[in-house]
């Protein structure tokens, strides 16, 4: 039978299954294939904190949302067009996010009485067999059975065979969206090259899924999503944590000093360590410490010795590092502290996203302990933010906090990658000569930063520490006037950085008007999309995304007052809102979501419309 081709502008697919079903891999493969085809895209992996939560339960559902299109894409999308449900729990957990009329691809084997019971379907009644899914277009296939059939002669055990199930689904989706299998074939060859039997099985099942679509009469429509019209240039697909890691390597390269990372594994930051530990050929030293405190303290030691020193963590780990950050502030040495935020407080929601560590970043240390804070707004932007954090730390002799979050850290997008020639040099100067009769370790330059004199430099022997310093000499001082002077000096030094960062710009919208939406961090894509939607409906709204949270760009205050109203969407109870109100007395309005999941563009757009009316 003739198959029809329908052209779509954009599609949102949610891959959902048990944590052991390989949904993250399936999603990543489809993503890479879409990226190389030239679609713009954004992804959102969403998985349980447990490695293998009880099989078949709602708690064990692992999901991966992919939004791709021939238009520009800034978010993983609100409601899905397609839901892949490998079992009953996956369907139940995600059905509310499926558009009316959306497609459900259900693995019927995952809807047996046991799975139905585990997913809390009353009386073991399968939703595939009654009319509860009437609003949707349900495609039921017994993936398990067909996978087993495809591998009947493979000689593999049932367990190994069943592990290839996800390839069937992937193959089917490749058929449905007119995609080539090449990228995934190459991936499988690289991954299983040394295990020919497993490789062969995966390839067979992948093709079986594709052919199933092609030959089965039930499916008549295939979809085309053309490449997106993006800025010309070369692109790659990148995840946030990966971008952060290579941003650090790039900064080390551009500064001409070695990179040292002292860290302790924590979700969702560990992938930065994993990525960096691969890059020893750049001389990168990664030190997996005994705890969070040792992570930052080894970095402080490495910084004292002249390395570009970094520690990575998430909120709970940042709490543990607080005292050491205070030390780095007193020592006035370069240090980059990366917080990939997650849901809090305490252990909170380790695998879910939140922006609730802004106040911790700004104020979460004893004493007056100012530290520059900058935030990344997208997976690709993590690269530039990490690079910039290093630049500020090295050029201004200060610890710097970079904020990312679980959403952009694990999310992916096409990235127009730079070349090394596009990257600025980072200016690192080590002191080599005395700056007075005796060496004065706290004598300041025009940036108010002090000299970096490395151990081993003859004649510059000096002691630094956490006790209050006397101005210039760095000797211990309990003098009250000196203390007040130094507290203000450390604050001024951080504020002085405002002279060396770009002015705040608008991302979109008019320079003056009714409403300015101000965001920071990972809300970028949702705000951008929401503003675009609102403007297309005639609402007068502008968008600014703040990267520099301390110090703020000098023109920020002025910008805020160019609008009648200011809206600040945040995945917290209003932290930036507090800070902006405090600093600029601006009567801004908060839009707050603390559900462990990002904003949808629709939620923000609704608020924009409400405020513009």
């Amino acid at each position: 039978m003739e198959k029809q081709n329908e052209v779509l502008e954009q599609v949102i697919i949610k891959f959902a299954g048990d944590s052991g079903d390989g949904m993250q891999l399936t999603g990543t493969q489809f993503t890479n294939t879409a990226a190389l085809f030239g679609n713009d895209l954004s992804t959102f992996p969403d998985f349980p904190a447990e490695i293998r939560a009880p099989q078949g339960t709602l708690a064990g559902v692992s999901g991966y949302q992919l939004h791709f299109g021939s238009v520009n894409i800034y978010t993983p999308g609100d409601k899905c067009d397609v839901l892949v449900a490998m079992n009953a729990a996956a369907l139940k957990a995600n059905l509310k996010n499926l558009k009316e009329g959306g497609i459900i691809i259900a693995n019927s084997d995952g809807f047996d009485p046991k799975n139905l019971r585990l997913a809390n379907y009353p009386d073991g009644k399968s939703p595939l067999e009654d009319d509860t899914l009437g609003k949707f277009n349900v495609i039921t296939m017994d993936v398990t059975k067909m996978t087993r059939a495809a591998l009947v002669d493979s000689g593999l055990g049932t367990k190994e065979i069943d592990r290839a199930k996800n390839m069937f689904v992937l193959g089917f989706l490749y058929w449905m969206y007119n995609r080539s299998l090449d990228i995934t074939i190459k991936f499988l060859e690289d991954k299983f090259g040394k295990k020919p039997a497993i490789l062969d099985a995966n390839l067979k099942v992948l093709r079986a899924g594709y052919n199933y679509g092609d030959t089965t009469e039930t499916f008549r429509t295939r979809y085309q999503v053309q490449p997106a019209k993006m800025a010309t240039g070369s692109y790659r697909n990148i995840m946030g944590n990966q971008a952060t890691a290579i941003g650090l390597v790039a900064a080390s390269h551009q500064a001409g000093i070695p990179l040292f990372v002292g860290t302790y594994p924590i979700t969702p930051a560990s992938d930065i360590l994993h990525e960096l530990s691969k890059h020893k050929s750049f001389g990168v030293k990664t030190f997996q410490a005994e705890d969070e405190i040792a992570g930052i303290c080894t970095a402080i030691g490495a910084s004292f010795g002249g390395s570009l020193a970094v520690t990575t963590s998430s909120g709970p780990g940042i709490a543990l590092k607080g005292e050491a950050m205070g030390l780095a502030i007193m020592l006035e040495i370069p240090l980059v502290v990366i917080n990939v935020q997650r849901g809090g407080p305490s252990t909170g929601l380790p695998t879910k996203t939140e922006q609730s560590d802004l106040l911790q970043a700004l104020y979460g240390r004893n004493g007056e302990a100012p530290m520059p804070v900058i935030a990344a707004y997208s997976p690709g932007n993590c690269f530039y933010t990490a690079f910039e954090a290093c630049r500020i730390a090295l050029e201004h002799m200060t610890p710097v906090m970079m904020l990312s979050d679980g959403y952009i850290a694990n999310g992916a997008e096409p990235w127009q990658y730079p070349t090394s020639a596009d990257l600025k040099k980072i200016d690192v100067k080590f002191a080599t000569e005395k700056n007075g009769e005796h060496f004065l370790p706290y004598k300041r330059d025009e940036k108010l930063s002090r000299p970096w004199a490395l151990p081993g430099t003859k004649g510059l022997e000096h002691r630094i520490g956490g006790l209050e310093k006397q101005h210039e000499t760095g000797n211990i001082s309990y003098d009250s006037d000196n203390h007040q002077f130094m507290v203000r000096m450390r604050e001024s030094k951080v504020e002085k950085i405002a002279d060396y960062i770009p002015q705040q710009t608008l991302d979109s919208g008019p320079e003056k008007g009714k409403l300015l939406v101000v965001g920071w961090g990972s809300t970028y894509g949702a705000i951008k999309t929401a503003c675009k939607m609102a403007r297309s409906e005639g609402y007068d709204v502008a968008h600014a995304q703040i990267t520099y949270l301390k110090p703020f760009p000098k023109n920020l205050g002025e910008m805020l007052f160019n609008y009648d109203k200011v809206l600040i969407p945040e995945m917290n109870t209003g932290q930036l809102l507090k800070v902006l109100r405090d600093k600029y007395f601006v009567p801004a309005i908060g839009l707050n979501k603390i559900m462990g999941i990002p904003f949808s563009a629709g939620e923000i757009k609704d608020k924009i419309v409400e405020l513009c009316k």
Partner: protein
């Protein structure tokens, strides 16, 4: 630094004195330790600017301010971690950690044991005075059970750490004990610490004459020292007593105190110390009874154990070099580009 040499010093002890007033209490054992360190450091054949002293918090941790070298007075318990990061990235430096019993055994206990197992080439000087001095007299993790202090008016109920046994348990590669009141022995131990390649752990019994005066006097004072302190040296029998008439004999794994002139015993029956014998060093580390206790063993001083094991920073560097040898030096443009790219035209 790997070896200690005895060539002409590159600088004098006096050049190690800073312009800062030393602020320990008069009579504090720390003065003696500072003096011995300032004596030994110039002998090591290492330029002054290559020395770094890193401390945590506590009375002992003021030490770096009094050494005209590079130094850092850090935060409580973390000197070990900071020194690890420094040494991991700067193999040209001679890194010394100055810490106390609260700093390294209590708040910094975790970093201490991990430093031991990683075996970075640094030197740890633990000033053990069995009391919290800087916070004015609370019991410490090395204070004896029943100790009456400001925070334990009815006596401490904590069982104390035995730092030597702890270091043994954490696979330390150089483990020694000395005392503030024996400058000759202390200098010898400092030299041996410096000479060891790997983490050298030197516990120094240090008298706090304000909050815990005389706590080690049985080992340090003339009247009892010979009876209570056992000075061990590799290759020599474990002898002590007024005239070295007492010795330690091993009955299986059980050490027995005997008089070599009595009951048919001779010096040939006495356990000969061997710093490379981990099992025997373990037994020796357990000579930790209170001198008040009936039938107690004498307290050993000297090098308990020493082993040659690769240092963390060397292996770390080797790994980097091996990867570079295999893959070539990292190319930033290749890294930025990744493995799969496409062009939008």
């Amino acid at each position: 630094m790997d070896t200690a040499t005895t060539s002409a010093p590159l600088f004098t002890s006096k050049e190690l004195v800073t312009d800062q007033e030393v602020r320990w209490c008069p009579g504090c054992g720390d003065y003696s330790i500072l003096k011995q360190v300032q004596t030994v450091i110039p002998e090591l054949g290492i330029p002054r600017e290559k020395f770094v002293f890193i401390s945590g918090i506590g009375c002992s941790s003021r030490f770096p301010y009094y050494m005209e070298t590079y130094g850092m007075h850090s935060i409580h318990g973390r000197a070990t971690a900071i020194a690890s990061g420094l040494r991991a990235t700067r193999k040209d430096l001679s890194v010394w950690i100055v810490t106390g019993d609260g700093d390294s055994m209590s708040i910094g206990g975790n970093h201490f044991i991990h430093l031991m197992r990683r075996n970075l080439n640094v030197n740890v000087l633990l000033f053990n005075n069995q009391i919290y001095g800087l916070t004015k007299g609370q019991y410490s993790p090395t204070s004896e059970e029943g100790k009456v202090t400001k925070s334990t008016p009815y006596g401490s109920i904590d069982h104390p750490f035995n730092p030597i046994a702890l270091a043994m348990g954490a696979d330390g590669t150089f483990i020694a004990r000395s005392m503030d009141r024996d400058p000759v022995h202390l200098k010898d131990m400092l030299r041996k610490s410096a000479a060891h390649k790997g983490t050298s752990f030197l516990e120094i019994y240090q008298n706090c004459n304000v909050f815990n005066d005389g706590t080690f006097e049985m080992f340090t004072e003339k009247a009892t020292k010979k009876q209570e302190a056992l000075f061990v040296e590799s290759g020599k029998p474990l002898l002590f007593g007024q005239n070295n008439e007492l010795g330690i004999k091993l009955d299986g794994f059980k050490p027995v105190v005997v008089n070599i002139n009595e009951n048919g015993n001779s010096i040939n029956d006495i356990w000969v110390h061997d710093t490379s014998d981990r099992v025997k060093a373990g037994i020796l580390s357990r000579f930790f009874d209170s001198p008040e206790k009936e039938g107690h063993y004498p307290r050993p001083f000297g090098v308990f154990y020493e082993e040659d094991r690769p240092c963390y920073e060397d292996v770390m560097e080797d790994q980097v070099n091996q990867v570079i040898a295999a893959k070539g030096k990292g190319n930033l443009d290749k890294l930025l580009k990744g493995s799969e790219v496409w062009d939008i035209k």
